[in-house]
Amino acid sequence: MRKKIIMVLLSMIVLVSVVILTFANKSIDRKASAGNKIAVVYVDGTITGGHGASGLLSESGGTDNLIKQLHEASDDASIKGIVLRINSPGGSSTATQEVGEEIKKIRAKGKPVVTSMGDMAASGGYWLAACTDKIYANPTTLTGSIGVYMPYSNWEELYKKIGVRQEKIKSGVHKDILSNDRPMTEEERVILQTMVDEIYQGFVEVVAEGRHLDIETVKKIADGRVYTGKQAKELGLVDEMGNLYDAIDGTAQMVGIHGKPKIKEYGKNNPFSMLMSTSDKAEILKTLLLQVPTENDVQSVVPMAIPEKW
């Protein structure tokens, strides 16, 4: 009889525990954690448009995925602020601009976005940072590189040496602009220079607006050079020196979270996704290969918000 009573009591304890864990504890936890979350969204590697690499269990790279993550963080009511962890040398100006506009929309809804720079947040990486409310960088972070370039190679002499003669039938005089089998004409140079200048102007305006600087001041420092995090702070391109956790704490303070905030990470690689998807190195190689111009491949020479050389 004594054994039965003990076991009945034990069973009751177990059942009551399950009920509390399933229902009561959840509501306590929800109340405690409601609105106490800070999202961390990672911008890693070269910024390129499109889906990026799709693995069996994850997606990585490509701004479509990044925008999706920003959307999710924006729509999640429990997330009060977003930290953008940037570790990127830049990339396509169009893809960068698209993400930058998304960041501005999130900020317009009243959800702050703060940047934490990793090893580098240069060019397109800085463009994104300039769209955020506050920028944290490490003293040795490589940043800046505010500028735009359009890569172009003239392989005319090589083609002659190997006996290749490109023939083309074109619908208009500029249809084969940036062809690698002939020198660029002055008119074409002017067309492309105008495009680059327009995108550069847009970049400068984004920096001026985001950093509360006047256009002329930005133009003086936006000659394409790279700055360290320390230099960038002196120039007003960065707000604070600090790492990712300083940025998270700063964001928590900004939104009025007392104590340690709960962190929700987006797009962080797990061991399975590392096995199932392509690596960042492979992605960088792919991006570099895509930049090699081929005949009539105008897509490969899209304006790049990326440092030309490191």
Binding site: S11, S17, I20, L21, K26, P307
Partner: protein, 196 residues
């Protein structure tokens, strides 16, 4: 027939005697109920704050299916090994005895509840409790094998761990093979890393 509650109580306090009763009575239906009930309750507790909605239901279903499959497969393998080593016993009785040991999973549930209120040491407490119950389950599993097949403790231990050792061996071989493959494939990239 002894009461199930009394048998479970004895399994906690006098496991050898309890297994003698379990093996002699061979109540497989009761054992099956214990496996299902323990799996559902412990899974509900473990996933209480982890998953939501339909996904939680799917995880619970997967847990139940896996638990029953693991129960059946592990007992089949142990039975085969026990027969090979020279033990004589019934697979049905081993299935019954091992099923009763699933009851131990329920003992972690109150610990999970306490741990959920202790944010810092809670995780550690859950881990320690899980470890203790895991070790206890292993001991009971070995006792069950020993009792069903009338084998010595050493042989029962060998039977219990042999499938795990074989699995670890296969896993190590697979890791080495995969590493060699990836090292070879990535050799060119590592030798000439992309420059910026």
């Amino acid at each position: 027939m002894s009461s199930i509650l009394e048998t479970l109580y004895d399994m906690l306090t006098k496991p050898k005697e309890a297994f003698q009763v379990i093996v002699s009575e061979g109540r497989l239906a009761k054992s099956c109920q214990i496996v299902l009930f323990s799996t559902v309750i412990s899974s509900l507790a473990a996933y209480a704050n982890v998953f939501e909605g339909g996904f939680k239901g799917a995880m619970l279903l997967a847990e139940i299916i896996c638990s029953v499959l693991l129960w059946g497969v592990s007992v089949s393998v142990w039975h085969l090994l026990a027969e090979l080593i020279g033990g004589r016993g019934s697979v049905r009785r081993l299935l019954t005895a091992i099923g009763f040991t699933y009851f131990l999973q329920l003992l972690i549930v109150p610990i999970y509840l306490i741990a959920s209120f202790l944010p810092t040491v809670g995780f550690l407490l859950s881990m320690i409790a899980t470890l203790v119950v895991a070790v206890w389950s292993i001991v009971l599993g070995i006792l069950a094998i020993s009792e069903v097949y009338q084998l010595s403790g050493g042989k029962a231990t060998l039977i219990y761990f042999l499938p795990v050792l074989i699995f670890i061996g296969i896993f190590i071989v697979m890791i080495f093979t995969a590493s060699a493959f990836f090292m070879s494939a990535a050799g060119d990239i590592l030798a000439n890393p992309p420059q910026f």
